[in-house]
Every structure is written in structure tokens, then in C-alpha cells.
Symmetry: C2
């Protein structure tokens, strides 16, 4: 098992703690790395003679876990990005003739372009919005990108660029790392959007604005998709049922039965088939020119942003529940320092 | 009248067009510059013998018009920033011990700190969130800022910084202009957030993330404040009523009657008293250390973000109305080129 040797002491301590507190179930909520950890705990606990039922509960805005139709968290981020892209695009459109012509929004997704793809949903048959997407899966070609932006601006008077934080040049270097330095000459981390905006300005002379949604997108519970919220509850419930039925080393999955109306149910997969596999955007989800989404991608994404699920408000703001996070009393006498 | 001489030909043409189409009312929706334009049109039209009833309808996210209690548009942006700041802060809090400790969000407001102040609403008696605000009205003091951030992180494990795009150093230079250059050495426009985040990283070593909300904040109709929407309709209605009653060169205002419960009515003010006056955050709205809002500021802001007013949705996205913007047939034979 890759990585286990480096962290063996930590895993062993964890199982020692489980044993001391008589914990037999381990539910781990997260993405690929957590799935991997969950898998290791299950295997190691068995080899140490205290087998723990380890169940992975999928949850990652990156939507890059294999087998499951989608990952809870993603649908709501997708909705946030689609809504924000539509709203900002209409803002730009209203002034494009005399002001900003190109708006660049940077979205999360270091390796996979699922969130960037959601920007494409802002346009549909009733909303003719010119959107150019830069996916991590497609090597950035400066010349073709600038030609595409110019073409859109000449046709629509404006253009919105959705750039993934993971967009890379042909040399494999992140766009976000190409360029900006602070006054002291330190390379500035983050910021594919300003790099792309500056490029447009230098080459085409268009006035621009840019936004970096960063954590705003993944914490935006106020605009969560109801489908996503339902799936989040369902995978939690299914995880407990799996454990009660005696399963271990499995991940709960969402199984799509039909696109429209969207029907789904929960299922499960062996963690051995999940760990260390990243699900990228398939080529047939990306348009031939590399800058947009295909109808197949739209059929996949559309149900995931469906429905609203507003939180309760108090004094004009969402009234979020806060966990108390009260630790139980320590049972092991010996301490343990994390490296 | 300042500026009128440079644009006299344009103003004269405008009034010529009004005359040709027998237009007697002019309603102008906007901020300080529009108020000024509206005022000039009223005065010039009179001197040209075709007096137009020019009424200014306040609308600016900057909230910097004088006399009126607030400006439609502002309450919804304030709500967006308060909501987003709360959401992202809880995201950071959940991982602060082992990951990001400082989150920086950049908000609009080139001159006045009203939107930045709204970030302060994210924290209240039930939400103990450490927020450090950088207002345009308070000269940035690097040493005191870093001490404040360190103090908050030591106490809370994390800290959220709300920086106005208009935050300036003691030399009067925008923070956003201090620093970043692209690979070609061009100064990069925009981006106070990365400058501040980098500063924190260099001086304190804390892991950071930053967001720039840019147009997302001002176009976010999906999270509009109901109070704001009601006021937007009310000022439009009041403007028409003012015109019908024979008024000219006036701006509709919102008059606050009480803080809690918030009661208000529309009124009006002479444009002569509005044009070229910017309303900044009063000193007693900013905490003594310059990094927060006072109870007086909270009493002012709180009602403005009150209530939700969700748009209709279709296929998971807001179904926004689009104006047809159909021009009437031209009546003047002679063309006119804008400079």
C-alpha cells in the first residue's frame, strides 16, 4: 500500500485509540485521499487483529471519485458557478458597448474540470451567453484562446471566460503560476484569472474584470442544489446501513437510473477500486474546439444543480448549525505527536 | 458647472433628441455621476428653452450618495458579502488547525467602505467569527494590521480579512497597485486580496486563501435583500410621482424613520445638494482600532440586508427577465458621433 509505510505509526495509533474506546465503525467523509485512508485503515486494522468496519462516504466538490455518478458537494458548487456565471455575464452584457468586454471567473478544480464545466450551464436555449471555458484537461493554447475570445466579443459585444484553477499550458505548468510576482520578486501563488485577463488585455486591448470565487463557491450553502442535499443525506444513511449489514472497505455510491427526469439510488463499491483513481471529464463532454461543453455533458450536469434548498435565516443571514465537537475523555495514557 | 463645457455638444444633442421625440421626462437611475448628469440636463434644457423634468433615481452598490438613507443595490450587495464572509469563514474554521488560517476576501468600494463594512455583519452574538476589515477610509498600517491578524489567529486559530478594493497605504496608493507584475513586468491591475494575502504569508507564515468577488457581488440577484428590492421599486414609483407633480432637478431619497423595526418612506432632495458629494463611512461607524464596525454601524446596516427575495428558477437556474431594448425610429436627420 503506497504511503502506508511513511505513516504506519499514525495508523497504528489510530487503531490503538479505536481499540481503547471500543470503536468498531469508521465512517470517513471526503474525496480521493480520504477514500485511500479509509481503505488503509480497514486493511491495517484487520492485520492488527482489531478489524474495523471502514466505510467511505463520498463528498468532494471536485467530483473526481470514480464509479459514483457524482459526489455530494459538487452539485451545489456547480449550481453556484452556473448561477454566478449567468448573473455576472448579464451584468457585463448591459455595459459592454462602453465598458468591460471580457469577464474572467476562476473556479476550483486542480486536476479535473467538472466545476469549470458547470460554468457552461449558465448559457442555454433561453440565455444566449458567450462562454469560453479553460479546462485542466485541455492544454492551454494561447493563440486559439485569443481567437475564440475575439470571435465571441465581435459577435456578442462581450465574452465570459471560465478558467479552472488547474488550467495548464502545453508545458504542463499551471497558468496561475505563469507570471505574477510581487514587489519583492516572489512568485505569487494562485490567480489564473488575473493571468488570463491580462493576456486578453495585452493581446486584444479589451477592458476586463476578473473574479476568483475560491472558498466562496464551496461554502455557498445559501444556493445549494436540492438534489445535492438529498444525495448528501442519502449517502450518510446508506453508509450506516452498509455498516450494520457487516460491510467494510466499501464506498457508498450514487447510481444514476435515468437522466430526465433524474432518478437515482445508492449503491456501493469496493474501496480497492476507488482509491487512487481520479475521474476526469471524458473527451466527449468537451466540445471539439476544447472551449465548451457538449450536449452529453449538459445531460449529465443538468439534474445535479436541480432544485433549491434554502437555509433558515435570522437577521438577514443564514443561521447555520454549529457542532459542539466535544471530545470524549482520553483513555490511552501515552501521548502521540503528529509529525 | 464642472464638466459641462467639455461635453456641451453631447448634452445639446441629447436635448435636441428629446425635443424631436417630444420627451418631457428624464429619469436617470444611478450613482453620483448620473446624479450630476441629471442635474446638468435639467439646467441646460431650461437654458435651451425646452425644459425637461429630470429626476434622479438612486441606485449604486457603493452606497455613497448623500442625503438618502441608502441606495438601492447596496442592501443586496451587503447581504451577499455578509453571507459569503460567514460561509467562507466557517469553511476556514473547520480546517484551520491543519490547513488555511487566513482567508482574504476583496470587495468593491473604490472610495467608500460601505460594502467592506457589511463583511462585519458575518459575525454577531451567535457567530463568533474573527473579522479584520480594511476600509478605504483608514490608511493601511502594515505593522498594526499584521499584529491584528496574528492576535486573531492566536485566539481563534483562523482569521478572515475583508479588504476593500479601495484600501490605500499612507502614501495614498491603492494596495491593489502595490506589487504584482506579470511576466513582462507590466503592473497588474486589481487584486488587493492577493497583495494582502502575500503580505500575511511573508510576515507571519500562515497558509492563506483569497477570493475576489468582483462582479459576482453586485450581480447576485439570487441572494437579494427583500428590503432592498422593496426600496428599488419604491424609488421608481416615487420618481414618477414627483415628475407628475411637476418636480425637476430632484433625486428621490429614502428616509429612515426608525432602526428596529426598520421603518422608512421615500422623500426627495434637490440635485444641487447631491451632485459631487460622496458619503463616506462616518468615523463613529469604524471601531477605534480601525479594523471593525461599531454598534452604530451595525444598527445602520442590519435592516438593509433584511429579508430574502428569491427569483424564479428554471432548470436549476434563475430565470431572469431580459428587456427587448427596441429603439424607436430615428427622427433627427443629422447623425452624431460620440467622441
Amino acid at each position: 500500500m503506497k504511503g502506508l509505510d511513511q505513516n504506519r505509526a499514525e495508523y497504528e495509533r489510530l487503531i490503538e485509540v479505536f481499540k481503547a474506546h471500543d470503536i468498531g465503525y469508521f465512517f470517513y467523509n471526503g474525496g480521493g485521499d480520504s477514500a485511500d485512508t479509509c481503505h488503509k485503515i480497514s486493511q491495517l486494522s484487520e492485520s492488527l487483529g482489531f478489524p474495523i468496519q471502514a466505510i467511505h462516504v463520498p463528498k468532494t466538490v471536485d467530483n473526481d471519485l470514480p464509479i459514483t455518478d457524482t459526489c455530494p458537494g459538487f452539485g451545489s458548487v456547480a449550481k453556484y458557478i452556473a448561477v454566478s456565471t449567468r448573473e455576472a455575464s448579464y451584468d457585463v452584457k448591459s455595459m459592454a458597448r462602453t465598458s468591460t468586454k471580457v469577464f474572467v471567473i476562476e473556479v476550483m478544480g486542480r486536476h479535473a474540470g467538472w466545476i469549470a464545466a458547470a460554468g457552461g450551464l449558465a448559457a442555454d436555449d433561453r440565455n444566449d451567453i458567450p462562454i469560453v471555458i479553460l479546462f485542466p484537461e485541455v492544454a492551454f493554447n494561447q493563440e486559439r484562446f485569443l481567437a475564440k475570445v475575439r470571435e465571441q466579443v465581435e459577435k456578442h459585444e462581450y465574452c465570459t471566460v471560465v478558467v479552472s484553477e488547474g488550467a495548464k499550458g502545453p508545458d504542463g505548468k499551471f497558468l496561475a503560476e505563469q507570471g505574477t510576482r510581487d514587489a519583492f520578486g516572489h512568485a505569487q501563488l494562485g490567480g489564473a484569472a488575473p493571468v488570463v485577463a491580462n493576456l486578453v488585455k495585452q493581446a486584444l486591448g479589451y477592458k476586463y474584470h476578473w473574479a476568483v470565487a475560491d472558498y466562496l463557491q464551496r461554502s455557498a450553502r445559501h444556493i445549494a442544489a436540492r438534489t445535492d442535499v438529498e444525495q448528501a443525506y442519502a449517502v450518510g444513511k446508506a453508509a450506516v446501513e452498509l455498516a450494520v449489514a457487516g460491510a467494510t472497505a466499501r464506498m457508498v455510491t450514487i447510481v444514476r437510473k435515468a437522466d430526465e427526469p433524474y432518478t437515482w439510488e445508492t449503491g456501493s463499491a469496493a474501496l480497492a477500486n476507488v482509491a487512487n483513481v481520479e475521474k476526469f471529464m471524458p473527451r466527449d463532454f468537451i466540445s471539439a474546439d476544447g472551449f465548451g461543453i457538449t450536449p452529453a455533458c449538459r445531460r449529465y450536469l443538468q439534474p445535479l444543480i436541480q432544485g433549491e434548498d434554502y437555509p433558515p435565516y435570522r437577521a438577514g443571514l443564514p443561521d447555520y448549525v454549529q457542532l459542539q465537537n466535544m471530545p470524549v475523555a482520553k483513555k490511552l495514557a501515552r501521548g502521540f505527536d503528529l509529525k
